[in-house]
Symmetry: C2
Subunit: 161 residues, 2 copies
Amino acid sequence: MLKLSKKADYALMALQYMAMVRSGETSPFNPNRIVNTKEIAEEHHIPLELLAKVLQTLAKFDMVESQNGPKGGYLLAREPREITIAQVLEAIEGPLGIADCYHEKDEHVSCEQIEHCNIRTPLLRVQESIFHLLSSMSIEDMMAEPPLIIVESRKTKGVQL
Amino acid sequence: MLKLSKKADYALMALQYMAMVRSGETSPFNPNRIVNTKEIAEEHHIPLELLAKVLQTLAKFDMVESQNGPKGGYLLAREPREITIAQVLEAIEGPLGIADCYHEKDEHVSCEQIEHCNIRTPLLRVQESIFHLLSSMSIEDMMAEPPLIIVESRKTKGVQL
DNA sequence: GTCAGTCAAGACTAAAATGGTCGGAGATCT
DNA sequence: AGATCTCCGACCATTTTAGTCTTGACTGAC
Ligand code: SF4
Ligand code: SF4
């Protein structure tokens, strides 16, 4: 439950990797270099074709830029701190909502029991909190892995319901 | 994405309803009365058979108590405030985890790329926050719907990452 | 004791979402 | 021109979800 999909997982991994490359952490003399799908796939042992599709989606949402042709690949389209987890998830999985009764576009697909639902309002609060939390964390916040520095400030600020 | 299943939805609705009945809000002279599956299903327009299964599960997890025979049914097994959303979700959907690499029981089902994963630690923080949020909200907190009172105190206290 | 009303438990199906694959069309570098 | 590489959409297999059905066991009222 509440598990994010493989695709979302892959997207986050790829973005984090690209952010690391870009910052020069992997190849100090060559920041901002372009990475291609294969590199990311092999690095993380994920199926190439699937990652490709994920990256395409990310490109469509302007989170990465694609460069075609040989020596082509992807690079981040924005600052790592400007890419939030919420944005990534929404790009990959569509608008996120804890229940089907919120953003359900065309008002007729909505929930059967919306008229007699007693938990809609409280659940909305939960959803907002989760969304807030996810929006308060960016790719940059995910770049401190091996030592895991304390990234208290930004996140704490964001989440108080 | 992050959408909770119908069954979870139904479970929360049923519990909230039972809590309301119990508090005497629906039938003032008869608090603590037993409600049966059919009543809940009709009240909320949800398929009876499915709700039955959900309630069975809840009974197995000691969130409700079942009474057999005519005029039988269910009633809450604990105080509404002692039943958190997290508990309900875990009962219905199994242990909740944002990624497959945590509580994945027998260490061999786990994620393929766990060895080369760069986002595991940061994601764990996110998961803990969400879990904390879900644990800080109980059925009791969901009982103020029409007016929606401000239930700031308890929840705010719980969520600071 | 019978009997109707209720929970319990499982098998079963249909439909949707997920995870993953393929192949061709374009782009671009050498 | 040719070799790479991304792009895009179609495709398939498996799993999950939602819902149904059947059977059985328990209980209280009559
Ligand atoms: S049941 Fe209530 S909360 Fe769940 S989707 Fe329908 S309206 Fe929203
Ligand atoms: S990819 Fe990383 S975070 Fe996602 S499940 Fe595997 S180990 Fe956990």
